[in-house]
């Protein structure tokens, strides 16, 4: 298998194991937007684990990107207006729909939730349509 694909598969399995660990030990869903939202609007006794999860995510990803041979560095040239509009939509949309790629995708599909299946189908469809419009109609 192409090495890029092998790393992608290995990374995907790590993400799945991360979600398994959090459910098995803590009984929580590894949904990044949900964990972030709970850290943003804290309730007593429900903050430290969220901060720990997010810190681990940021530091581990940062170390890999900085140190691993062959790791790609993040893109730097996307328009700021585009980033701000996209960020607002992602923040608002994931709260309105109660989840993102990890909560509905990795975890929701893993427990065969119909709601998550519908959410994933919907966001994949609008994401593909948006990319099509931006890349092939707009430009």
């Amino acid at each position: 298998m192409n090495p890029t694909w092998s790393l992608a598969l290995a990374g995907g399995v790590l993400i799945g194991l991360s979600a398994t660990l959090l459910l098995w030990l803590n009984g929580r869903v590894a949904g990044v937007s949900g964990i972030l939202n709970g850290a943003l609007f804290p309730k007593a006794g429900d903050v430290v684990w969220r901060a720990a999860f997010l810190a681990g995510l940021i530091v581990a990803a940062g170390l890999y990107m900085a140190l691993a041979p062959g790791a790609t560095s993040p893109r730097t040239d996307f328009s700021r207006a585009g980033l701000i509009a996209a960020g607002l939509l992602v923040g608002f949309g994931t709260r309105m729909g109660n989840g993102c790629t990890s909560g509905h995708g990795v975890c929701g599909l893993g427990r065969l939730s119909l709601r998550s299946f519908v959410a994933v189908t919907t966001f994949m469809a609008t994401a593909i349509a948006t990319t099509y419009v931006v890349r092939h109609v707009w430009n």
Partner: protein, 138 residues
């Protein structure tokens, strides 16, 4: 640090490692995956496939336990209905994801190397969450 938070730290670290290793943190690759009618890059299918195959296999085993190891209950969403909020929220999220190529995890991961795009995207994402909170209180 309490075991509960330590477990979350380990889980978050595995998650971040997986995101970076798999290429999900590279927005160019994500947009290549979403560009199914153009220059399609199938790499992320392996990420999503690997992650969902793992949770599908392992969650079944985990949920067979009556309770998690370090807490009393599994805190899973009990919502079952498919309504406008779910559809509308997922649709808006997908539009944002399709514009720039970042979903929440990879955007946060970019902070780990102080990536310039993450420094613009993440505050906007937090503002979107605040806006949602504000709109739903009004």
């Amino acid at each position: 640090m309490k075991k509960f938070s330590l477990a979350a730290l380990v889980s978050g670290s595995l998650f971040g490692l997986g995101l970076a290793m798999s290429g999900m943190t590279d927005a160019r690759r994500v947009l290549g995956f979403l560009d199914v009618f153009g220059d399609f890059d199938p790499t992320l299918l392996f990420v999503l496939g690997g992650a969902v195959a793992t949770t599908t296999l392992m969650f079944r085993w985990v949920l067979r336990r009556g309770s998690p190891v370090l807490a009393h209950t599994f805190q899973l969403s009990s919502l079952e209905h498919i309504d406008r909020r779910l559809l509308g929220g997922a649709a808006l999220f997908g539009i944002g994801w399709g514009i720039a190529g970042y979903c929440p995890g990879p955007a946060l991961a970019g902070l780990g190397v102080a990536a310039v795009e993450a420094l613009w995207f993440v505050p906007a994402m937090l503002a979107g969450m605040l806006l949602h909170r504000f709109v739903n209180r009004a």
